[in-house]
Amino acid sequence: MNKKHLHKEQLGYEVPEGYFESSKNDMLRFLKEKETKAPRFFGTKAILTTTALGILAFAFLLVQKQQLTNYEINTFEELTIESLEVSDEAFDDWFDEKFVFSEV
């Protein structure tokens, strides 16, 4: 008596028609697909790490930009105050030196 009949007659267990052949092929195909699937470069951990690094980089750039703006404001204020001490005749030269040429 083969296994299939033994299990059916003594335990009442049945399987769908053609189950063994199809399931064997399915399992092997499944394993093959699993193996040939390209390894995922970005796993969940990698995605989280990249996102966290991106946020940090963005925050860093934002702080730097803010600092640069503050520096520009401070410099402009200093120059404006300094300009009060410059005479009207010397102002054009002073303006060229401090604003025009300094940005070139």
């Binding site: 296994k3 033994l6 267990y13 399987v15 499944f30």
Partner: protein
Amino acid sequence: MQQDDHIIEQLKGKQYDRAVKAISELYHEMLYWHIRKLVKRHQDADDVLQNTYIRIFKGLKSFGYRSSVKTWCFRIAYNESMRLLQKQQKLAHTNGEGELTDHLNNLTADPYFDLDSVSFAFHESLIKLPEKQQRIFQMKYFDELTFDEIAEITTWNKNSIKTAFYAAKEKIIIHVKATV
């Protein structure tokens, strides 16, 4: 054992694809029935069989050659089945359901269980056995595993397996004789 030798040769040659194919050729049906008797329902057995294949495939690279390939595969199948049963028991416990070991309730819900074809006295005596005796008896009687193999698969003591098997056999004979 000679069949195992062929698989071992492939493993030594790192031909894992071929090895798993050879395993499926030799043990696919046996593994299914081994699992089915433990988890009872066809759909569960199919799921466990798939997980078993994944574990076999992953584990082949680190196969230690300490046991036969057959025993090793059966042990994986056994452990996977136990994992499913534990999960089901936990779930039943959370849902406040009764004992999941109610064999027939579980079986009759399975479309691939045919109660009419069963030798009723035999089946009745089998389901009345304690879980451990039932498993051992089925492994020996249906799967035709040796006591050594059963001990390796279940990690139970060989002598206690023998005792449990003969006790189970005795109970079944008495029950069947009394019923027929």
